[in-house]
Amino acid sequence: MNPHPDLTSGVLHGLGWYYLILFVMNLLWTVRSFKVDGEFKKSTPILGGMPVATVWAVLTSILLMLSAAHFTGGSSPEKFMIRLPEWFKNPVDAYFANPVIYFAGSVGLYWAMIRFREWWVQDTVAYTMLQLSLIFMGLSLSDYDFRQIVGKPDNVPIVAMLFIVSFLTWIYFKRAVDNDNRIAQGRPLFEQENNEKVLVWPDLVYIELICMVVLTAVLVFWGIALEAPLEEPASSVKTPNPSKAPWYFLGLQEMLVYFDPWLAGVVLPGIILGGLIAVPYIDFNKGGNGYYSFKERSFAISTFLFGFFPLWIALIVLGTFLRGPNWNFYGIYELWDVHKVVAANNVNLSEFFWNSPLFSWMYGGLPKGDSFMGSPTLTLLLRESPGILLTLGYFALLPPLLGLTVLRKYFVKMGILRFLVFSNLALWMAVLPIKMLLRWAFSLKYIVGIPEWFFNI
């Protein structure tokens, strides 16, 4: 018998409950849709003239049938038909196990989120996306490897986080799009028209009390239902494989893959904190103060969301679900095979440079020992000079160049000092994706690599 069956009677039973909840959810939504959405246009093929709620009613009945099938199919799980087909799993694995596609996809998603915000904030669209993701998850849970990762008690908060973050982002964009339209049409803001101000006592305190009780109940239930993931006693010679940081630090751990510890563990987090502290100094735009708006502060919000979604949330997801043994990439339906062979042979920039045909002909390869002017130090510096010049140019030349060209508008608005602070922080933020892409695309290890001095960039 297969020790890792995709489906067991317990799993089927659980999925039965899962689909039953989805059924109730969609039943309510169908009622709402019947009241609110009206009918399809007469010209629509097939559905013309029928209430929009028909579609939801069909989905609801499918979910009820799915639930019933799962509840009754528990007796022989091996023969159960409703599971993800391999032709679906394999391409998805190939996608998720490829960091370049994954990262490019998360950046693309970020771009689409902003570009198509007016479309996806609509209730029906957002609800459809939620249902699709829930059904996708339900189907995926029928896979053994997916369940091992997603169902791990450690990772439950991350799954919850994905839905909570999506929900809060949706609320923001919905309100912001609404207000942007109001401003464009000259109508009063939502916050002015629907004054949501309440008294602290009793209204706010009352809500807070309820939240407190509910949260406590959830935590107690959580603590009872999901076992704390205790591991074997710590040993200095035995590191768990894979060895993962707490989930909220997985973004940092991912940075450590691309940078030296002093950079990824000290400098970059320090710059994140310093940059956040500097936000009130850099961003003196008073638009959007006290109300939701995207257009009035599009640059600030886009920049922040870029740092938050592709560079933080996406890295947490990557670290949680896609990093497996030996810190290799694994697809979400892929077995965590300790012996998966991944070519990760990394090369420093200096080796690329000096071993290139031109310089290897001119100089004869990597400068070694004290071959340059008889000094080991100068030889080191000569060896790493391409990287050092690149780094210096990146931080010293790019800000003025950007200020005079692409970001001229901001340079004029901000003044030189503020602009330099801003552009340096922005360049530091760009350092991470640049280095990641260089690593993935060219197997570049370090731009400046001086292990002799413990100095690598």
Binding site: S235, S236, V237, K238, T239, P240, N241, P242, S243, Q253, L256, V257, Y258, F259, D260, P261, G265, P325, N326, W327, N328, V338, H339, V341, A343, A344, N345, N346, K445, Y446, G449, P451, E452, F454, N456
Partner: protein
């Protein structure tokens, strides 16, 4: 100050200057009276009244003291006695020996302003005694005070012709009181000391300091444990024949944190001891026999059998420890020394044993 008849402003400034320190020690009263600048009649009167009405604000004194200091201060200016002798002289000269009551003080103010301060300050207690009768003191209206002051200021105009010379007899003024107090302290030293030791402040600070000192000592002791359960830095790992050609032994990883590798490097078959600490962030990599590499589970650094890094973020090769063939024919590893390839230390004969 001028030769003219003092204006009411001048007078009030005098009073004000004197009245202000009523909340202070009498000695200070005289000091500030010289520097005081008039603000306004109402201010001054208010301060007089305030000073008189709030005797509790006064440090040592009651209404009587305040009155005394006002009176004393008002006339104090001209006096410039340098020491006790001077004070006594001025007393003699002024003829205002021992003021016995408000009346006599007022008299002395009126009569010889120069002598007054000495009288008032040499024995402030006496002055206080003299003015002890509160009904008398508080019965004196502001108008009376101004009147008295006017007289004394008028009388002292000549004496204050050179205001800059007006030195302030602060030290001598304090001395008598201090001497009296010293006598007190000598007598009650033991009981005073006992009170101080038992005060909450002393107890609190004392216990804090004691506790801190004790815990520091305990911490210092902790640094020198009786038994040290660290593995020895030098240990025998058996004869070289235990380690077959082209193998990596993980036998000593758990106990000592070294891999013993028998490998061919630059055409030379040798045994060396690699440290099991990843050069990226210090995790412990695993030896993967199938892939013939060391692989770190934390950030994916990979090392060849030789210890040289080739994948992942590790910036430099694994470190070698010292190894030698001991006299008894077994290998001995010395973990107290390390050899780094990037510093060219792997050429050192102390970090490998040719086989």
């Amino acid at each position: 100050m001028s030769d003219q008849k003092p204006s009411s402003d001048d007078i009030l400034s005098k009073i004000r200057g004197a009245a202000k320190p009523a909340g202070d020690k009498p000695a200070a009263a005289e000091e500030s009276s010289a520097a005081a600048a008039p603000k306004g009649t109402s201010d001054i009167l208010a301060s007089i009244k305030g000073g008189a009405a709030k005797p509790k604000a006064a440090a040592p004194a009651g209404t009587a003291d305040i009155m005394a200091s006002i009176k004393g201060g008002a006339a104090a200016k001209p006096a410039a006695p340098a020491g006790t002798a001077g004070i006594l002289d001025s007393i003699k000269g002024g003829g205002a020996a021992k003021p016995a009551g408000t009346a006599s003080i007022l008299d002395s103010i009126k009569g010889g302003g120069a002598a007054k301060p000495a009288a008032a300050s040499v024995a402030p207690k006496a002055a206080a005694k003299a003015a002890v009768d509160p009904s008398k003191a508080s019965g004196m209206s502001a108008a009376d005070m101004i009147k008295a002051a006017r007289t004394s200021v008028g009388g002292s105009v000549e004496a204050t012709a050179a205001p800059k010379k007006v030195a302030l007899p602060s030290k001598p003024l304090v001395q008598p009181a201090a001497a009296a107090k010293a006598a007190d302290t000598r007598r009650s030293f033991l009981s005073d000391a006992l009170t101080a030791v038992c005060s909450p402040l002393f107890v609190a600070w004392g216990s804090l300091i004691t506790a801190t000192a004790a815990s520091s000592l305990a911490m210092a002791r902790f640094m020198m444990p009786n038994v040290l359960v660290e593995p020895p830095t030098k240990f025998k790992i058996g004869p070289p024949t235990d380690y077959g050609a082209s193998t990596v032994s993980t036998k000593w990883k758990a106990q000592f944190g070294v891999w013993i590798v028998n490998d061919e490097i630059d055409g030379q078959q040798m045994i060396y001891a690699l440290s099991t600490v990843c050069t990226h962030l210090g995790c412990t990599p695993n030896w993967l026999e199938g892939e013939q590499k060391f692989k770190c589970p934390c950030h994916g650094s990979g090392f060849y059998k030789s210890g040289v890094n080739f994948e992942g973020p590790a910036p430099r090769p694994l470190e070698r420890h010292g190894i030698r063939l001991a006299e008894d024919g077994t290998l001995e590893v010395d973990k107290s020394v390390k050899f780094q390839k990037e510093l060219g230390q792997w050429d050192n004969a102390a970090c490998f044993v040719p086989v």
